[in-house]
Point group: D2
Chain length 371, copies 4
Amino acid sequence: MVGHAFMGAAHSHGWRNAGRAFDLPLEPRLVAVAGTSAERTAAAARRLGWEESLTDWRELIERDDIDVIDICTPSDTHREIAVAALQAGKHVLCEKPLANSLDEAEEMAAAARSAAERGIWAMCGFTYRRQPAVALARELIQDGRLGEVRHVRLVYLQDWLSDESAEHSWRLDASRSGSGALGDLGSHAIDLAQWLIGDDVARLSARTTVFVDARPAPGANGTLRPVTVDDAAFVLAEFGSGVIGTIEATRYALGRKNALRFEINGSKGSVAWDLERNNELEFYEADGQPGTAGFTRVLTTDPSHPYLANWWPAGHTLGYDHAFVNQAADFVNAVAAGVQPEPSFDAAASVQRVLATVATSSGSGTWEVVA
Amino acid sequence: MVGHAFMGAAHSHGWRNAGRAFDLPLEPRLVAVAGTSAERTAAAARRLGWEESLTDWRELIERDDIDVIDICTPSDTHREIAVAALQAGKHVLCEKPLANSLDEAEEMAAAARSAAERGIWAMCGFTYRRQPAVALARELIQDGRLGEVRHVRLVYLQDWLSDESAEHSWRLDASRSGSGALGDLGSHAIDLAQWLIGDDVARLSARTTVFVDARPAPGANGTLRPVTVDDAAFVLAEFGSGVIGTIEATRYALGRKNALRFEINGSKGSVAWDLERNNELEFYEADGQPGTAGFTRVLTTDPSHPYLANWWPAGHTLGYDHAFVNQAADFVNAVAAGVQPEPSFDAAASVQRVLATVATSSGSGTWEVVA
Amino acid sequence: MVGHAFMGAAHSHGWRNAGRAFDLPLEPRLVAVAGTSAERTAAAARRLGWEESLTDWRELIERDDIDVIDICTPSDTHREIAVAALQAGKHVLCEKPLANSLDEAEEMAAAARSAAERGIWAMCGFTYRRQPAVALARELIQDGRLGEVRHVRLVYLQDWLSDESAEHSWRLDASRSGSGALGDLGSHAIDLAQWLIGDDVARLSARTTVFVDARPAPGANGTLRPVTVDDAAFVLAEFGSGVIGTIEATRYALGRKNALRFEINGSKGSVAWDLERNNELEFYEADGQPGTAGFTRVLTTDPSHPYLANWWPAGHTLGYDHAFVNQAADFVNAVAAGVQPEPSFDAAASVQRVLATVATSSGSGTWEVVA
Amino acid sequence: MVGHAFMGAAHSHGWRNAGRAFDLPLEPRLVAVAGTSAERTAAAARRLGWEESLTDWRELIERDDIDVIDICTPSDTHREIAVAALQAGKHVLCEKPLANSLDEAEEMAAAARSAAERGIWAMCGFTYRRQPAVALARELIQDGRLGEVRHVRLVYLQDWLSDESAEHSWRLDASRSGSGALGDLGSHAIDLAQWLIGDDVARLSARTTVFVDARPAPGANGTLRPVTVDDAAFVLAEFGSGVIGTIEATRYALGRKNALRFEINGSKGSVAWDLERNNELEFYEADGQPGTAGFTRVLTTDPSHPYLANWWPAGHTLGYDHAFVNQAADFVNAVAAGVQPEPSFDAAASVQRVLATVATSSGSGTWEVVA
């Protein structure tokens, strides 16, 4: 694993517990983690349960006893690590967003396609697909329970920048993070939208905005450093099939801590979800009985729900991190079976293509084709 | 109408609007209101839309141009007014609780039975039966959608006595109000429980309690006056059919303003409701599809829902006072058709019988038969 | 009153009850209602409580015993009736949207300004401003409790066209209704957005769409008639102050019956509301205590809340139609005091200007200035 | 660890992850698990991550490389294992309910007191104390934010016996499980009630009931086997301080999968919680501002909330099993520090004392003192 901050901890949790919840054909071993500081990486290895720590990710790639490279670093480093790992014959799990630019993403996707021909697999960590309620929503849509889909409505609301005195960080520096709320939050929303309805955004009109354009540099006595990424992004999207989608990502929705929400309306049914209540899917079905119609709060903890047969009895909730366990299990199962784990780099690159088109449209002020 | 405070205003709203929402066979006319103070009663008549005001309710009974006596006074006066009115051949709508004692209630019920033989009708104002969501719950139960009922769970939570410096009032004086939370709030819960499942409480174990036993007399420089009624009441009830019910009424549930809530669980389904969200009925149906099972939030504003064909299009909510319009319409329709309007005084007396048994059991500390 | 369908009934409810809930300086009298069919108008007059019925609205304007003209007809007739009434010295309450085109709206606003100089007042019926929770939200914003506003997020979701076999109606005919979801639902959302934050939309990018382009003509054996209005509309708006707003209106959000929702995020607080739960305002305040921070569900039934001192004690909910009573009372009070009742025709014309710009932008595919 | 079914899996999850989330002074090692079947125990060891498997729990106690015995077996075996382990100088974590009878529980508590003198510690697994929202509720109460507590209201609702054709199991056999809903669910509710307000039940009136008195024996062609435990239990409790509590436990609340709910009302504030929405605490504070008062939905995922500094950033939810990780960490920290881990066997025995008194009162039909 490369990187050991928030995402590194979440991925470690996934690898550590996947074989305990699922019957896996192969047992993940947490061999080594790479970081920049020897001391902090060693501490992280101990804390997160890795056998060794290193300060050069290239060493991970060179070792014969390592089969999988898990990339949990900031997105400006994804391309280099992923391409090198795939070329070296390592399976790759890479955190989202796939890259900081469409060029990088397409290079990564090409590397992944090439590796796939050799049975080497790459996957991108859009982990919310593995929340049971989200997976259930997709099942319902794929099974036709919503009929013809018309509306896709997503917001990803956080609030950690609402306070304008909050300090600057690498996430506000375009050269490191590529974009702001758009890539960090919007990428999740776009991936879910495309995956849930099984169709890609074809055209869009978008706008990104900045509410606070400079913030105190850490430890710099109040010196302001410019914010070079978006604070919020808004997208009106038309999918290939004619579905209309609205997508918003912001870090200024005061009081919303992690409100990734979607609602999808079809001709026969609707679904709605909120990550802050991740164990509940709201489902409406037009069944001709208006007297008892309404949104049903499905507590997605039944053994019949996606992933749940491997967890606790009905009524026992899962949290944010269970999706990382599910993700690790899915990855191991796919690699062991020699099939493409999803979302592939191609799927992640299609998200990147939408992100790039958002930037274009925000600049041009017009509708743009995603191509 | 006798009395013109909170209940008088709500009943006036009902009479005034019933013919506007419903096609009634007879049009209610707001002829005269009686009160104790000539000045205040006259002001109330103007404000509430009555043609005349009087200071002696007996005059209402003597007049030929008045067919209905609506009793909205404190419960210690109900018996005298209702019995006199019925004997004089006036139809009667009487606010709940029916009386302050079981003896009074039974005398009233006897008077009502006698009057009914002459085509004169009496009804008690348990108005929450006319909230559409509540009426829908009863329909579902009567239609067998819940299967065999096992649990009835009700609370009626208010908080206006939480502040122990709140002043004394007639509602805290047993000689005026009969009881406290028990009669005021508990009577509603008991009526709903019995009506919803169509069965009466047969045996019960109960407890009433007082949290603050004296309060400042109004305008008396802090002199404390004893509280002679219960602050809260708790009932464990067994119905004739074996259903188990729990009922709680309190004025000390801080933050709950008017939370009359029920949940009823049967072998095939469940319903739940909260007066603070009066337009929503939660309905669970065991239909063998665990993947999409859950409580459905039915927004009870569809024309197919009880009373709703007479109100607004689907999605347009009703409030607390619409039940008084529904009640007035039901009363007029029953009287015009010459059938017993429900809840009859017998039904209200059966509630009073439960209230009396609660007091007995609270004193004895044992289970008591409701008889 | 002109017109006696859904809106006529709602307005009648308002006029009939305003003086019963509020202490008004003038008592509304329901003199006469005008409609197209003599028979149906007479029936409506009886049902809704009007003294007389007429078949020519011009007669209403000519009568000396009528001071107020209440316009509840489809929007293609608003201009003619309103201008004539104002010129004749009648105060006017006109349903929304103000008109079917910006030209009409501006002519009406001009007529209203001219009439105002003579003490004749015009108001537009954006009645949701009178929902107590909405009025409370505005108070909080005006009092600075949200700090600097950044986001305004509104949707107005209905579903009555989801079924593609639903019949055609005048609402789907642009020559009658002007537009579809945009004018019918979007106008409410735009008015609330502008009123709540006290600022107007300055620039916007928008898109309207049609999901089902032809529907069965009523009683025509399945012959399809083209739908000439939008089924849904999407707006990304920038207000003069830099606030970013997203607005969506649709009749295809299956399961949402009347979900007019807003969420507004500022630098110090946020508010959120849903018309389907009209008695609740969610309020978040950043008060430096993260341990107990969260959205507070304010049950807006306290006497301290807007309009509530005139209704029931705390905890007793209001419904959709109470806003019409509040509206009638506000109108009477303003007229009696000789001050402009709000929303004025100017305010309503500013909504119309946004509607017109939405249409322009949807055609051009680019950002357009609201001017 | 003894036992490897549902609870064994949950406890294993706790031991495995405690050191990864928390900085522990001692690192738990999953040495050996004991079960009855060699084959199934070996499979469980592999699946749950234990180094060895055994078929005699006495071997665990005899080994020098094992310091802690974790008892996850049915409650009829708790006494023997726990007493033997404590006498052998092993620290003990024992699942709830502590025992099947008060005698057993008191023997265990005595053994624990004796062991504590030698620095050997025993704790009972009332794990819901470790749900962050529950721990926050206790903090608020202990900090006086609720003022004087008056009401404690708890229900623990499940529905897995609603279907009367569901098969018999050991949980319905009193000789194995001691009691039914009472011990299984009610014990949790009683422990939370006593812990949250820091006071014990002093007197109670209770009732247990059976809805379905015989069920098909598994694999026995429809032969019915008697149900010898309660299906539901109801308790009206008076605490030493005068607080009144109502407690209900049932397995027949159709649609409620795991609804352990409490609401506590004090003179200054209230809290409410539902295990099915475990990441949310509802908190009401009477702060003299009725205009914005209401229950605040606190998403208990902030680093300032109990346990959360060791988990994910604000907004990232926890599930059912995180409480087992928190529990393991608390146990390790207490043992390492040489202090009593809570809940002690004394605390658990006090719950057992209430359970026993519930049975007595249900039989006598009168109030009983808990002694």
